[in-house]
Symmetry: D2
Subunit: 345 residues, 4 copies
Amino acid sequence: MINIGIVGGTGYTGVELLRILATHPHAKITAITSRKEDGMAVAEMYPSLRGRIDIAFSSPDKAQLQDCDVVFFATPHGVAMAQTPELLKAGVKVIDLAADFRLKDVGQFEKWYGIPHTCPEILKEAVYGLPELNREEIKNANVIGNPGCYPTTMQLGFYPLLKAGIVDAGNLIADCKSGVSGAGRKAEIGILFSEASDSFKAYGVSGHRHTPETIAQLQRLTTDTVDVLFTPHLVPMIRGMHSTLYARLTKNFSNEELQALFEAAYKDEPFVDVLPFGSHPETRSTRASNMLRLALHRPNNGNTVVVLVVQDNLVKGASGQAVQCMNLMFGLEETTGLMHVPVLP
Amino acid sequence: MINIGIVGGTGYTGVELLRILATHPHAKITAITSRKEDGMAVAEMYPSLRGRIDIAFSSPDKAQLQDCDVVFFATPHGVAMAQTPELLKAGVKVIDLAADFRLKDVGQFEKWYGIPHTCPEILKEAVYGLPELNREEIKNANVIGNPGCYPTTMQLGFYPLLKAGIVDAGNLIADCKSGVSGAGRKAEIGILFSEASDSFKAYGVSGHRHTPETIAQLQRLTTDTVDVLFTPHLVPMIRGMHSTLYARLTKNFSNEELQALFEAAYKDEPFVDVLPFGSHPETRSTRASNMLRLALHRPNNGNTVVVLVVQDNLVKGASGQAVQCMNLMFGLEETTGLMHVPVLP
Amino acid sequence: MINIGIVGGTGYTGVELLRILATHPHAKITAITSRKEDGMAVAEMYPSLRGRIDIAFSSPDKAQLQDCDVVFFATPHGVAMAQTPELLKAGVKVIDLAADFRLKDVGQFEKWYGIPHTCPEILKEAVYGLPELNREEIKNANVIGNPGCYPTTMQLGFYPLLKAGIVDAGNLIADCKSGVSGAGRKAEIGILFSEASDSFKAYGVSGHRHTPETIAQLQRLTTDTVDVLFTPHLVPMIRGMHSTLYARLTKNFSNEELQALFEAAYKDEPFVDVLPFGSHPETRSTRASNMLRLALHRPNNGNTVVVLVVQDNLVKGASGQAVQCMNLMFGLEETTGLMHVPVLP
Amino acid sequence: MINIGIVGGTGYTGVELLRILATHPHAKITAITSRKEDGMAVAEMYPSLRGRIDIAFSSPDKAQLQDCDVVFFATPHGVAMAQTPELLKAGVKVIDLAADFRLKDVGQFEKWYGIPHTCPEILKEAVYGLPELNREEIKNANVIGNPGCYPTTMQLGFYPLLKAGIVDAGNLIADCKSGVSGAGRKAEIGILFSEASDSFKAYGVSGHRHTPETIAQLQRLTTDTVDVLFTPHLVPMIRGMHSTLYARLTKNFSNEELQALFEAAYKDEPFVDVLPFGSHPETRSTRASNMLRLALHRPNNGNTVVVLVVQDNLVKGASGQAVQCMNLMFGLEETTGLMHVPVLP
């Protein structure tokens, strides 16, 4: 069994980790920290876990995190980097679901997140946790920067096109839509039911933190200069993310060739599903599962390829992907504990 | 492996059966019928099942249902009773998710469902599939009438009170609320998104088919005459059912004694969870799982007991319960394939 | 023109007052207070009011409330009673949308609201603002305690039955369901979109503040002792309230007589609509309007009458009712500015 | 008073016309046709209209449409063109909310709508009913082709940019999102509550009927060749439309100049609201009103302008715009009966 610690188990990525790990055959959760809820049973806060998760939250000072095999940080940005050096010394692996280890460029990190990076030397060895593009590195990693939810869809959607060098890398557009759980479990007016339901809006259009992460990763795939115009929107649904990606073809490529390109790229991937050309994937077809599905379009047979990508932002976009990384890091079958069938309707 | 046939796999209880059986370790789905979708891959209609369910719908005449070990009917009322006699002769067990085998009284059936019952002799040996109240009979059954979703909550909520003989059996009130999926996957105006969302209403208040089923079953628990005033409502959510049950105490019973009564009644039940006295269970705490949760209240310390009961109407209220019955009928551990952790948020 | 001040214009009842008063032909909003948003244009917080409400929030000390003809308090409990004595001295009328002037019994107020009442002498002259039952008193009132949203539905639903003396007044049950906006615009976890959508729950079942208010008012209608078992629930919709009321008949009364009783009771009421017997009103049929609709049922022709009542909790259940009171207090036609057609779909 | 006939009053644009016209001071609804509902009171189908709309549906043959001053067609494509010739002969003006009179090019119409156009001669004199771009023609029109909902947002969002000639007209992208009411009130599986809620998807990505309409209208504004890549999506909300428009600048233009350009373009428009630069309009800020709001962005200060446009698809996107046209056609103040304050929350 893998002894697992979770820092910050009260948010949505935290409770989703608990849901997944509760039925993972090799996982043993030994510590969940929460300063505020010290002593409260996890199942008291989340009755959905009654009978399935028996431990209580403990304050960070009491939790024996150094005895774990791996610690997940489901915390705000900045928490993981404060505790990681000590954990690594104790031989504990770290998977951070926040942004502390996503951006290799410290200057970029500090610009977009507004806090100094406190362990740049660890940042150097940290591995970006997107298994489809980074599998071998993840297997040997001690520290994982788990990808942002939006960047996961943008990277897996643009990857085959950039790799093949057939689109204008400097003029990519990603019009993305997320369910409200992506904003976290925070007491904020803007994500109240009466504010966010039965309405739709964009946010962060002038600039969003997931842009530099996405560009940095996509740049690794091509020598052309990558630029992505990323526009996030808030959808009145709990889970689910839909990215509508636009890329201009620079080479002659038929629809059949495009489809073949994507199918070849992902044919061995257990969690990427390429739908038939011209399909319209729905976010609910991935709900509560680790699947990401995508489909290609060529509107009016013009020279723009549209890639539609859907995932559950809390699973493939966060906690499921983190467990997928854990499986790789501990030599388990990559799909272990992650084969939930999507919940539909 | 149990060879399984499903008649009517295109509705919500059908696709929910598929979701559950896809990860059931002893289930092998060998036939799914749909006259209209003959030849269409199941995963084409339900992309959530891509890579998980590989067979196609076949028309009823082509499906080799008589070679199955068990056939589930996820069909409108009346279909199961037409095909059950032949299946039984072929040694196939039948689990009907509709109402054909729920009411022992043929007259009642014909009054409420408006069609003649075509196999009253089978009705006699059919077993009502509520494991918590009927476990031993289910184990030996060849034909199961799977309970209605509302009746499941009403029976499990009122049962300990009636069994103990401490409430006025003739004056029970059940104010029940269901998610829209309970109405099925039918092209009807009233359950369109733009009709049913952001609104709330009651329906069938003057009389509903689940009343006679509930009364008949509850009557088995007591010699007092049972009467239930049942009021169903439609909630703008997909899954979930919440029943608010009112019963007047006829004996002196403290809150502690009431709580103890319920805890004793369900202490060995894997799918009934008695919450602490005074809790307010949310439907989402059971979402996509086979759990039913309930909690007791005594408003203003008066002589009315209020029981709050929640479940997922498609799982414990339908397909999960049917699989629970199947497990019992085939000598499997009752919880096999049914231990999904509720999806929250 | 009536010069109007609003204290606490940032909550949902506040912005709803603004929406209504923006097109009221005799209303002139001269002051809106908010300590926190002092100087911010109202339309900046609520872009829906751009071009319709031109003033800015001002801190309470700057607002010239004593120059108003009437001041609405759309504030938490306790604010109105602190400011009302001074306003009355200045000749300003007061309409409180919170509970400060709803309960005549100071002890009850202090028990349920947990704060001392600071102006019991004003409480004595305050008038309960339910026009259908209290019209004449409202016309001459200087201080209005605007009814709670739930109590409005319970009173108008039970009134004809109690008045006629044909039901068991001591055994009334009110199973009520409210949209989430009823919880106000507060940064609280429980009413986040990801917590409250796609789910359903009861709350406050063991005892709720609207019970004493409702009983006190209903008691004025009959010499029998009134008791109401009131169970509130939270519905995943923004606006709307549905109360399912149960009363046991103590006299022989046909369905036709019941219907006639209600039609007679409300035949001259512009905002109470009695639907045909056996109807199922939807909350959306009152959305964004001041209408309350109700319908009668007699399930299975038994001796329980079920009254289904719907309204928009923010209009007839709060701000619309407050403006209705204002119209009466200033000698205007009662329906002035309140004839919005419900928004459907 | 204007005597008004409505053909097809049972759909969402029909009931929205009724909601608006019920409080329009110069409107008198004299006939509403529905073959299927002949004789049924309008308020029986739509209880929200009880007491506000007193007439009943009548079958087309009984309705005296030729006695009306104007007839609205809230019908499927093809109905208006069948009846318009006769109405025009009788001196009745026609406003079609479907597509019969939107496309001047008969070939385009027949290609995209799959039916022959039966009155091309009337098509020639028909006027496209977008008042902001076509006001004078509308005043003198006898036949109006009311714009599609999506095209309204695309035209008003791109108009100032194309008029000024500062963007690449051949590479416009419109990523648009609509509430479910846009799909109409039809008994179809795909728009059931349990299918469309808590999920998000694109549709018609390979080609959609609103593309040729939009391009044809935008082409009138510039000599450059216009091309728009239009991608519609379905949002789990009832009303509301959000278009995210992308245009590449071909000239040096500061953000201040862009903002000034839009403010100048719409400074006298009662129903177009230009928000401050960098705002994120929400669809709910226009709910149930005839307002369209837009805001400009310049992501990462690059050379792409993003225009965010919101409206209520049933009002400015359909029935409200139609009434706006009617006001112009009959010499009334353009805003008559259309000054509803948006309903928020």
